[in-house]
């Protein structure tokens, strides 16, 4: 009855995209990579504006703006594919950028009803980018941990934006709930990252890889048994 549109809530969606961007940005070091990321982010932002205009039943203007946004996004991808000198730089950037675009597509949403899938796929791609950076370039552990936490926060905020959108709609004020919830997630991430860093400082990496794997596997089984 109330003309609420059940689309992902805006504050959560913005937070999710920003957090996803942070996950990518934390691992960048070449200027060309930055240019590509900024172009892609600008493209997503313009697309969002176009979508907002379209929602206010200014369809023509909205479509035009969204088209400009898509063009900017394409420029971002082009820069990412051609700009950085080394292949490793491209390899770590491309999955991240793609993930960011998919995440934004899920939250706009490009296709209603598929928001959750797009959010999950987008953040999974973001994480692939993070792992690629760790594997190919051997990025510092702190940056890797922070990027991983940022990825989880992006997924969590995106998920919450979708559920808020379903339950209270896009028009409702949701910022306070989003801040509280994501605050908790970020805090938990920080604690986990610090703990992992502490373990790292204990020089566990000096152990043989098999020992480390055994340790992790044991921890894993413990967690799984706790959950059930």
């Amino acid at each position: 009855m109330s003309n609420a549109t059940h689309r992902p809530a805006v504050p959560g969606a913005v937070l999710a995209v920003l957090s996803g961007a942070a996950a990518v940005a934390l691992l960048l070091d070449a200027a060309a990579q930055w240019r590509a990321l900024l172009a892609a982010l600008a493209g997503i932002a313009v697309c969002g504006l176009g979508y907002a205009a379209w929602q206010r039943s200014e369809a023509g203007l909205g479509a035009l703006v969204a088209l400009a946004g898509a063009a900017l996004l394409a420029v971002g991808f082009f820069l990412a594919a051609t700009g950085p000198e080394t292949t490793t730089h491209r390899l770590e950037l491309l999955p991240g950028l793609l993930g960011l675009a998919v995440l934004a597509a899920g939250l706009l949403p490009v296709r209603a009803g598929r928001e959750r899938t797009l959010v999950t796929v987008g953040t999974a791609l973001l994480f692939v980018g993070v792992v690629a950076s760790g594997v190919f370039r051997g990025s510092p552990l702190l940056a890797l941990l922070a990027a991983t936490v940022a990825t989880v926060v992006a997924w969590d905020a995106g998920e919450q934006a979708v559920s808020l959108g379903r339950q209270v709609g896009r028009q409702a004020a949701t910022a306070r709930a989003v801040l509280m919830h994501s605050g908790g997630t970020i805090l938990a991430g920080a604690v986990v990252a610090l703990a992992a860093l502490g373990v790292y400082r204990l020089n566990v990496t000096g152990l043989s890889l098999t020992a480390l794997v055994a340790l992790l596997a044991a921890g894993f089984v413990l967690i799984l048994s706790l959950r059930n």
Partner: protein, 472 residues
């Protein structure tokens, strides 16, 4: 009132650990392997946050103006307060806007975090529509900090928006007086209103002697006052007709609103007013005079499930449809409510459980529905005094009502029908229904029963005066 569900949203985070662990192992990168710790940490995180207690929420709702005119904007302000002593980190509130009132500004929804004792307020505006509209309880969803557990509850604050112009007693006086002849009688007697002065006769009461005239001229005279006999009127609201669609719900809302105003006018004029529902659920309040009785009658109109228009007509507006059973029916345990079924020991199977379902989902078989109403009319007839008039408020959506009117008339109770007309006649179905309704009105009028045809944008008082003027 509360149920808890687990969202299971963090379950997938383990995949992150597996992926990082596998890749780290294969690529022999300890740093990547350690990223698995993040996934593991987040898998444990929901276990560490306190799960939300049952949200203790107080809801206050104010509607200004409380009785708007049809088409007017009514501002609604809802304050939600956390009465518990724990944080509610993710609280989602959806107010139970009446199904027939469209929200024209703002949104009746909010997600927020509330500290103990903290409060938030929702402001929105609805457009008033003719009739009485009851707010449903607000739906409250509370999630814990990690979002793994969700508690659903409802918080009730009975608010009723009464929309429409009031009816003055004079209009009704004509309406009922026309046929009954027992309101302000032309018989001189001991009423209140001056009737005439005449010569003193032996045995006239002392207090009716015109002492001024005696002082002036020394002659004894007697003042007669118009004798007023109060009428006894049973308002009968047709609530069970036409299934549960939107226009039917709107018609019930108008009937209930009209019943409220007519009852007020009748009680103002010192008449006895009773209330009955025609259809199911059944409700009966015997006619009595007095403002306390009027208050009870109005409370019944506001809170009894029989008089809720479109209780589930708009279920998809709420995250999960708040079922009709959630309406605050507990408040209806005021005296005077007698269910014929309860006394009859539930003669029909499913009659008691179907009491509210019949109105809300309209999914009951037609036959069951009509026999239900026949039973209701039979019971009403038994309860009615022979001198009690019946004022039936009905959209005249089916032939069963016509039969009911005939039954009552045959039993000697004078019946007057007030019928709200159909809102929009833009489809073939609604046009056909309108034609059928006109035919029913003609049938009733032919048999000498006054029918007030109350158009959608018409003032009720005007409609009544028009009808009584015509039949006079």
């Amino acid at each position: 009132m509360t149920d808890r569900t687990d969202t299971g949203r963090w379950r997938g985070v383990v995949a992150l650990s597996l992926f990082a662990g596998t890749v780290g192992l294969l690529a022999q990168r300890p740093a990547v392997l350690l990223l698995a710790a993040v996934g593991a940490g987040y898998a444990v995180y929901p276990r560490l946050v306190p799960s939300p207690p049952e949200p203790e929420i107080a809801v206050e709702r104010t509607v200004t103006p409380a009785s708007p005119d049809p088409g007017e904007r009514a501002e609604v302000s809802v304050t939600v307060r956390n009465e518990g002593d724990r944080w509610l980190p993710d609280l989602r509130v959806v107010d139970g806007v009446p199904a027939l009132l469209p929200v024209v500004d703002g949104t009746p929804r909010r997600a927020t975090a509330l500290a103990p004792g903290g409060e938030t307020s929702l402001e929105y505006a609805v457009e008033a529509r003719e009739g009485k509209h009851r707010f449903r309880p607000a739906t409250v969803l509370s999630r814990d900090l990690a979002g793994t557990a969700e508690q659903r509850a409802t918080a009730a604050e009975p608010t009723v928006v009464d929309c429409g112009a009031s009816v003055s007693a004079t209009a009704l006086r004509n309406l009922t007086g026309e046929r009954a002849g027992e309101l302000r009688s032309d018989v001189g007697g001991s009423g209140l209103e001056f009737h005439r002065a005449r010569e003193y006769r032996q045995g006239d009461p002392m207090r009716q002697v015109d002492w001024r005239r005696f002082a002036r001229s020394g002659e004894l005279g007697t003042i007669e006052y118009a004798e007023e006999r109060s009428a006894s009127v049973a308002l009968c609201v047709d609530v069970g007709a036409g299934g549960g669609d939107r226009s039917a719900a709107a018609a019930v809302a108008r009937c209930v609103g009209a019943a409220d105003r007519i009852a007020g006018a009748l009680v103002d004029a010192n008449h006895e007013v009773g209330l009955a529902s025609h259809g199911s659920p059944w409700y009966w309040l015997p006619p009595k005079p007095g403002s306390a009785h009027l208050a009870q009658l109005r409370r019944a109109l506001d809170t009894h499930p029989a008089f809720v228009p479109g209780s589930t007509a708009d279920g998809d507006d709420v995250p999960d449809p708040a079922d009709g059973s959630g309406v605050p029916g507990a408040e209806t345990s005021a005296g005077g409510i007698q269910s014929p079924r309860a006394e009859a020991g539930t003669s029909a199977p499913g009659a008691s459980s179907g009491a509210s379902a019949a109105l809300s989902d309209g999914g009951q078989p037609i036959e069951d529905e009509s026999s239900d109403r026949e039973r209701g009319i039979g019971t009403l007839r038994e309860r009615l005094d022979s001198t009690t008039q019946v004022l039936l408020l009905s959209p005249l959506a089916d032939d069963g009502v016509v039969d009911s009117v005939r039954t009552l008339e045959a039993a000697g109770n004078l019946v007057t029908v007030v019928s709200p007309g159909p809102g929009e006649t833009d489809s073939v179905g609604t046009r056909l229904a309108a034609v059928e309704r006109d035919a029913r009105i003609r049938t009733l009028r032919r048999t000498g029963i006054p029918v007030v045809d109350w158009g959608p944008d018409e003032n009720l008082e005007n409609a009544i005066e028009l009808t009584t003027g015509r039949s006079a």
